[in-house]
């Protein structure tokens, strides 16, 4: 269920915490396992993480459903996490989200037919002076305009 490579990565996180506190690594472990499973967590993967960290399944499930970065429904290969909070809103994020939706032919929360991209409206990502902005993977894209969005999205493979 959890690959050796994933276990190795999880172990580096476990090493940061005191002995017996391996469940501190659950948030990263879930991310690592999610990344290996089409960006999505299932009952079984959550249980596998719980077992690996020697914690109750429901405790891992609590974490997996509390934090926003875990997906429990199918998502695209790339998730565009578009901030729609106040600073971005003041800078026109609503119009840009509408533009993106039209361009991709999906609504926020949906996945493009080819499974490549899904769009999610998220709360403040802490880059307010670069508003409007979104995140794809580890990368922030700031001071967005319709043209810039088109370029970025067209470059996604």
């Amino acid at each position: 269920m959890i690959s050796d490579n994933a276990k190795k990565q999880i172990d580096t996180w476990i090493a940061k915490y005191p002995e017996g506190r391996q469940s501190s690594a659950v948030m990263e472990a879930l991310k690592i396992v999610q990344a290996e499973n089409e960006n999505q967590l299932s009952h079984d993967t959550i249980q596998a993480v719980a077992d690996y960290l020697n914690m109750p399944g429901i405790a891992a499930a609590e974490v997996a459903t509390f934090y926003e970065n875990y997906n429990h429904q199918p998502v695209g290969k790339h998730i565009i996490r578009f901030c729609h909070n106040i600073s971005c809103m003041l800078n026109g994020s609503d119009d840009l989200i509408a533009h993106l939706e039209t361009k991709l032919g999906v609504k926020t929360g949906e996945v493009t037919k080819d499974g490549l991209i899904s769009v999610k409206k998220v709360e403040c990502l802490g880059a307010c002076v670069g508003a409007p902005m979104f995140q794809i993977g580890d990368q922030y894209y700031e001071n967005l305009t319709t043209d810039k969005i088109d370029d970025i999205v067209d470059g996604l493979k």
Binding site: S24, F66, Y67, N85, S87, L90, E123
Partner: protein
């Protein structure tokens, strides 16, 4: 400008150990390793500096550090709160990206003062670029023999790790953050006990904001008085202000406390398109909104903003011009708290959704005449009744928006459309 956390901002590779050390970085830490500082001396300098918690609460850092039972037996922890997520706030991201070693040194100094040999920097999960910068800096510091156990035979030990969040604003609340490091949901703990006595893994713990830690090395290097003199009475030093919204040059500005708001607005390039200033949220989304008049008369320090009727908070200045629909702005903020409430305690779990739904209904043209009283009533019932400050943070904008811009809400309810946007 840019005298403390941002002092190397204009340099190449400003985040590197080399740049940091060239400007005197780690000199305090090296002195500590040589036994040239006692914890009390450091606490004393911090008290003189007037440094107050930069995360939003504004509690004097020197005093906070003196509360830690540093002579207590057993493991103690020091934790940095880099879970920046309050709408309008984006300064810690830049500190981590551009001056990570100041955070490391600040934490190490704190660890020494409070006899905490292990530290964690809790970085919000989306901050992958800052996380990688910080990890890189940690690697440099370890390689340079600045961190570890019994560093250079000094008998001083300090191990520092970063912990990543996974998307929950509430983890910026310090006890929720501790729960999160323990691998649990970020649900704030009730207090007492306070983290200084029962904190991370049940051990005494001090939590400070990234900017607070990053300010410590320069305070030690130049003296507390130097820092105090940068600012004004009761608000020592400089402060990072994130200026966003309807300005020409939105950015983070490190300026002296006490700067008039009008000057800060100028620094940010003034109002975009020459529009008229309508409202300012001076300290992040949870601080009360101010009218243009109140804002223009205010100075950017704890007392100045307090006098204007709001709070300095995290120094997140959101500028709104006269094209802004205040009903829409408040609805967006209400949605944020509704979305980010952890759900643990009743008033916040039930009240934030209620507030949002009433506002949403008004925006959908289904407002009722008594909705304003209802909103005021609900926010009042949340206020002060919750485990943590998120309840108050959700309530305060509602109260201040309705107090300062009530006519826009009345208009929206009556005409089923925005007074500003039509």
């Amino acid at each position: 400008m840019n005298e403390v956390c941002f002092k190397n901002l204009d340099k190449d590779q400003c985040w590197s150990l080399e740049t940091y050390e060239a400007s005197g970085g780690y000199s305090t830490w090296r002195k500590i390793l040589k036994g040239e500082y006692t914890p009390d001396e450091i606490i004393n300098e911090l008290k003189i500096s007037g440094l107050r918690g930069r995360g939003g609460a504004g509690f004097p850092t020197g005093l906070k550090w003196s509360f830690m039972p540093r002579n207590a037996e057993g493991q103690k922890y020091i934790v940095c709160n880099s879970d920046e997520g309050e709408p309008g706030t984006c300064k810690d991201r830049d500190i981590l990206r551009f001056n990570p070693h100041a955070v490391i040194e600040g934490m190490a100094i704190g660890g020494y003062v409070m006899d905490a040999t292990v530290g964690y920097n809790y970085i919000r999960g989306e901050f992958m670029e800052p996380f990688k910068r910080f990890e890189g800096a940690l690697k440099e510091a370890y390689a340079a023999g600045l961190l570890g156990k019994n560093i250079n035979g000094s008998e001083v030990s300090f191990d520092l790790y970063s912990h990543l969040g996974a998307g929950a604003y509430i983890c910026g609340e310090e006890t929720a953050l501790l729960e999160s490091i323990e691998g649990k949901k970020g649900q704030p703990r009730f207090k007492p006990p306070f983290p200084a006595n029962v904190g991370l893994f049940g051990k005494p713990t001090t939590i400070n904001n990234t900017e607070s830690f990053a300010s410590v090395p320069d305070i030690m290097q130049n003296g507390g008085q130097w820092f105090a003199d940068l600012g004004v009475e009761n608000s020592g030093g400089t402060k990072l202000f994130s200026v966003s919204g309807h300005v020409n040059n939105p950015a983070n500005f490190e300026v002296s406390m006490g700067m008039p708001f009008s000057e800060l607005l100028e620094l940010a390039g003034g109002m975009r398109n020459g529009a008229k200033l309508k409202a300012v949220i001076p300290g992040g989304s949870s601080t009360p909104v101010l009218t243009a008049e109140a804002a223009m008369a205010m100075t950017m320090d704890y007392d100045g903003i307090d006098k204007a009727g709001s709070m300095l908070g995290a120094g997140s200045v959101i500028i709104m011009d006269d094209s802004t629909c205040m009903v829409e702005a408040l609805t967006r903020l209400a949605h944020f708290y509704y979305d980010e409430s952890c759900g643990q305690c009743t008033p916040c779990r039930e009240g934030t959704g209620w507030l949002y739904r009433v506002l949403k209904r008004i925006m959908d043209g289904q407002g009722k005449a008594d909705d304003i009283d209802l909103l005021l009533g609900v926010q009042e019932k949340i206020m002060g009744n919750t485990i943590c400050a998120l309840g108050d943070a959700a309530a305060m904008p509602v109260e201040s928006f309705l107090r300062n811009f009530r006519e826009e809400f009345e208009y929206y309810i009556e005409h089923k459309k925005s007074m500003v946007k039509g």
